[in-house]
Symmetry: C2
Subunit: 259 residues, 2 copies
């Protein structure tokens, strides 16, 4: 099932995407809900970020192929022994087809990072890795937009990865996907720029969720990024960036300069 959040006639709804239609949901997508008979053409609604996370978690470096990029940005010289979680600001949330806006104060060294995003479906504290996946309701695509100069210069990632619009997610929550089967692909202006497999995560979602949940209560709607892979490059105004997670969907965004 593909659960989306969308805007039509100025009203916000949740719905289930089937083919070129979206069927409106009544109720709480993380609790009790039913699919109504109200239908819309997908092409006629504005899709939003599929949920409004209270917190957006990232695992720290989580693909061996990305170590040299991490090393350059933060001086990290070896693979982590356990997840090193951090959070992206919720102010940075954006949706499908939204703009990624490069802030005026940036020199423009703003990179894509295409990632698989797990969506927490139930309140979760102190769970084991074996229990953790019971708290995930599905997956979406995410772009962990990263300003590399600020990532290097600052003591935290507050603006490097948390500037407004630096967290596009979408287009929907796919409840049937499995990370072991997902190819992670980024295309810039139609040309493939990243490709990797989610099965190569150093720490899988179960391990990361268990680790975070030892000190932190995760809530329904919280997002957990996979980490990114290999090399990344700067995006420039006018670029169209697509993050595809196979079996999940394609997230498309447009790069603009702040006016």
């Amino acid at each position: 099932m593909r659960i989306a959040r969308f805007l039509t006639n100025g009203n916000e709804h949740y719905g289930v995407v089937e083919g070129d239609e979206i069927k409106e949901i009544a109720g709480d997508i993380f609790g009790d809900f039913k699919v109504t008979t109200r239908r819309y053409l997908l092409a006629k609604v504005k899709l939003l970020a599929p949920m409004k996370p209270g917190q957006i978690w990232c695992p720290g470096l989580n693909f061996a192929s990305h170590l040299h990029v991490s090393a350059s940005a933060t001086g990290q010289s070896s693979l982590p022994k356990h997840p090193q979680p951090w959070t992206k600001g919720v102010n940075s949330l954006a949706g499908p087809e939204d703009n990624i806006v490069i802030p005026k104060a940036s020199k423009g060294n703003v990179h894509y990072e295409g990632e698989l995003v797990a969506v927490i479906g139930k309140r979760c504290r102190n769970v084991s890795p074996a229990q953790a996946m019971d708290y995930v309701c599905g997956y979406t695509c995410g772009n962990d937009v990263s300003e590399r100069d600020w990532q290097k210069a600052d003591n935290s990632y507050w603006r490097a990865k948390g500037s407004d619009t630096f967290c596009p997610i979408g287009p929907w929550i796919e409840t049937e996907a499995s990370p072991t089967n997902v190819e992670m692909i980024v295309r810039v202006n139609g040309k493939e720029a990243q490709r990797a497999s989610a099965k190569d995560m150093l720490f899988d979602f179960a391990t990361i969720i268990s680790h975070i949940s030892q000190q932190v209560t995760l809530q329904p709607g919280d997002a957990l990024f996979s980490g990114t892979t290999g090399d990344t490059a700067a995006m420039k105004p006018g670029d169209v960036v697509e993050v595809e997670m196979t079996g999940v969907g394609v997230l498309r965004n447009y790069v603009k300069a702040e006016s």
Copy 2:
């Protein structure tokens, strides 16, 4: 005016505290509201954290007297040239009279940090320091609870400062206070443990808000801690910790070990 959030008969309300009474508010405390004629005895209600911040900001090291503590925890050797913002997890929010729970996984090196907290009252982006205070609706007291071993060991503060219950704030939002007049006091079991003046902040709230707002949209209810001062020490289960900001109020919490 002192605006509190409180629980009575299982229902949550906002109200204005006057003497030993609280008068219920109807409407949005960050928009249009009126004070109703419904009154409660303050002693008969449960005060909650006065707002539910979408994000909880801290400025990085912000008092010269705290440099040696920062140096020991994170290797910081000099005063910052500009704010170095980071965020405390919203999962860590707690209210007046709540427990601060030391996680099982901690060896117990969990310190108080008594701080003045500015409350954002209006949506705020790209403001100058001269404009910034127009977006602050008042102040409350905060305890930036900090697990020093994790602060040193981890790449981010996610659990060092973001474990559940590590962010008590309250008891209310005082809309009339001015940081230039606030003495910042911490008492542990009635004995004074910290004392400083908010006027000695390296970067005042106006400067920090302006800095953050260049890349980040701040929202009504977002919290901004002042940073802490001088020396801090570990709290132990059974301790009663009071954070007093003179002219604002007293925030009292109880230290427990996780069961």
